[in-house]
């Protein structure tokens, strides 16, 4: 049985100018101990779907799903109190901006121990020991001293390590890392990623890594889910995805990687992710897709089969070439 199973998740935001659908029928499945990456540009709804799972969206958001199950709990029916027993214990999350994600008014130690006090019956001294242990685990030197530090005294990388320590405090079954390295220096990024994957193997937890960086994905994860404009457009094992992307968007993303560039100029994807007012009628990627035809503009595609990476495309690519065009035409 999967640890996390989400079917047909949609999230709508009530805005001054009407409803805005940030997540549109997304499926996510995570197995125990698995490492899944969710990839997409900004605005592709990858963070929102995970925040919906955590129950962290503002009240303007409406969440609907056919299935939203974690470790046997149906998160749609659960009360707020029951959810808070799972959140921060079995599922925890770290965020993009480590510096602002730690509360400036409390020490690092206080914030880690607060989580322990909420979810365990540890005594004061046990909590202190566990906090020190966690700080060591995430590679923070002089843990006793750092526990007494305030967030503004730590660097960005240190803050993210502290955030990870806090997230690991209750030995979660699932850790969601929402662009954990985006705000950090390039040299620190690799360290944090290494730390996360190392900890994942060490503790056997599942890890969902949200990122917009395909390069990160190649080195670290097992399965990749590509999202575009609130929809899942492809899901594959990482090797297959890099060798043979089935959705034109994935292909375009991969082509834009510097290390894979074959031409002199780095290819880019023209245009931007559609916003609230310019959502196309048919396939959401059609305005930017180089293979798009009249059918793509008019009709919404349905996901392809497993062997085609569930590609959300009328003409899934095989070896870079669209298929099925002849039959459709």
């Amino acid at each position: 049985m999967s640890l996390l199973e989400i079917r047909n998740l949609s999230v709508d935001f009530a805005t001054a100018s009407g409803k805005f659908r940030a997540v549109d029928g997304v499926d996510v499945t995570v197995d125990q101990g698995e490492l899944l990456a969710i990839v997409g540009e900004s605005g592709s709804g990858k963070s929102v779907s995970m925040l919906a799972l955590m129950g962290l969206l503002p009240w303007t958001a409406t969440v609907t799903a056919d299935k939203l199950e974690f470790d046997g709990h149906d998160l749609r029916k659960i009360s707020g109190r029951q959810r808070r027993r799972i959140i921060g214990k079995d599922i925890s999350m770290i965020f993009q901006e480590p510096m602002s994600s730690l509360n400036p008014a409390f020490t690092i130690g206080w914030q880690i121990k607060e989580s322990l006090r909420k979810h365990t019956n540890m005594s004061r001294s046990q909590r202190q020991d566990r906090a020190v242990e966690l700080m060591q685990q995430v590679g923070i030197p002089a843990p006793e001293k750092r526990l007494q530090a305030y967030p503004h005294q730590l660097s960005g990388g240190m803050s993210q390590r502290a955030m990870i320590a806090m997230a690991l405090a209750n030995k979660p079954k699932l850790l969601i890392a929402d662009e954990p390295t985006t705000a950090l220096d390039v040299t620190i990024q690799a360290q944090i990623l290494e730390l996360l994957t190392g900890l994942q193997q060490e503790t056997g937890m599942a890890l969902v890594l949200i990122t917009h960086d395909m390069g990160v994905v190649a080195e670290t994860v097992q399965r990749v889910q590509v999202q575009y404009a609130g929809q899942r457009v492809e899901l594959q094992e990482v090797d297959g995805l890099f060798e043979n992307p089935h959705h034109p968007y994935t292909a375009a993303l991969l082509a834009a990687l510097p290390e894979r560039a074959i031409e002199k100029r780095l290819p880019t994807i023209p245009g931007v992710v559609p916003g609230q007012f310019d959502r196309p009628q048919g396939c959401l990627f059609s305005p930017r897709c180089k293979f798009a035809d009249a059918r793509c503009i008019a009709e919404r595609p349905t996901p392809a089969g497993r062997d085609l990476g569930y590609a959300l495309c009328h003409y899934p690519l095989i070896d870079g070439q669209p298929t099925g065009k002849e039959t459709a035409a």
Partner: protein
């Protein structure tokens, strides 16, 4: 923290000097002969005039007069009230506890209601409770206090007859006041009913005086909370599974309090400086009423001394507030 303290003290001293200059200049700016104004006498004989002139040092050059005045301040010599013939400092010290008692009660009331109200309003932003609360806060903020106090008297003393109109305690009670705080002294006296009487005298002035700080604190708390609630660390706290109570009341409020404490501190300064209107209306024997009475009595030594002492109280309170601000704001404390 130490350098912060030193920097803060460095601004304290020039301000203090400025205040002494203003107090010193005050008596000399008044229309009329300052010597006679200080003595509170009129139509004196030339011999008496010369005697007074020497007594107040007006035969000296101006800078010498100022230095003597400042030297006097440091020896606690702020002149003598001509109407009571008592030293100004003594009078101040007798009356100050009454003001402190009233001001503290008012600020405690304002804080205890204002902060939770602001938090609840912010958490329920845009809903009915928020709108009702913020409308009342704006009414409170716009309230002419002297009128509000009169209304309270009309309703609670006049119509309902629940509370006395003025003073600190019923006339039938008579006891020593070792602390100067009527609530404490009435308990110490052991006289039955004395404490009740003290409380009932205190209620209306406290409510009147607390109104504006209450409105300001509620508004400030709400806006600070709204700012803080959008912060990433609030989301982190929720991601840790903390209850809304704890997220709003500990994680958010602790950060929102930093600006609110400043506002509270500054209003303590103003309230301690004498709630002029409230004390006058309720005949509360504090320094605010003392100042107003002295101005009307033309007891200018009292006005001069009181002005200085009151400014000093405000400055010291503001200094303490700044230090406290440093203590609760870790960025200043260690940074």
């Amino acid at each position: 923290m130490l350098s912060f303290l030193i920097r803060r003290l460095a601004t304290f001293i020039p301000t203090f000097i400025g205040v002494t200059i203003i107090a010193f200049a005050f008596i000399r700016l008044l229309p009329g002969d300052p010597i006679l104004l200080l003595a509170g006498e009129r139509g004196v004989s030339p011999e008496r005039y010369e005697q007074l002139r020497q007594q107040f040092g007006f035969d000296q050059p101006m800078w010498k007069q100022y230095l003597d005045y400042v030297a006097g301040i440091f020896q606690g010599d702020l002149g003598i009230s001509f109407s009571t013939k008592r030293p100004v400092l003594d009078e101040f010290l007798t009356l100050f506890p009454a003001t402190v008692e009233l001001a503290l009660c008012a600020i405690i009331l304002a804080t205890l209601i204002g902060i939770p109200a602001g938090v609840i309003a912010a958490v329920n932003r845009g809903k009915f409770f928020d709108q009702a609360l913020m409308s009342s806060a704006l009414v409170g903020y716009s309230m002419p206090i002297f009128w509000w106090a009169l209304l309270l008297i009309i309703v609670f003393s006049g119509t309902l007859g629940w509370t006395p109109v003025s003073g600190r305690i019923g006339l039938q009670y008579f006891f020593d006041t070792p602390t100067g705080f009527m609530l404490i002294d009435s308990l110490l006296s052991g006289q039955s009913g004395a404490f009740r009487s003290a409380v009932s005298h205190l209620i209306l002035p406290t409510v009147a005086l607390a109104t504006i700080p209450l409105a300001v604190i509620a508004r400030q708390t709400r806006s600070a909370m709204l700012e803080v609630l959008g912060e990433d660390y609030v989301r982190t706290a929720r991601a840790k599974g903390m209850s809304p109570m704890r997220v709003n009341g500990v994680h958010a409020l602790r950060n929102a309090l930093i600006p609110v404490i400043t506002v509270i501190g500054l209003s303590v300064g103003t309230l301690l400086a004498g709630a002029i209107l409230t004390e006058t209306i309720f005949s509360w024997p504090g320094i605010g009423k003392w100042m107003v009475d002295s101005i009307f009595r033309r007891d200018y030594q009292v006005v001069q001394g009181g002005l200085l002492l009151i400014a000093l109280v405000v400055m010291i309170v503001n200094l303490i507030v700044d230090v406290l601000y440093g203590l609760i704001n870790p960025k200043i404390r260690k940074g």
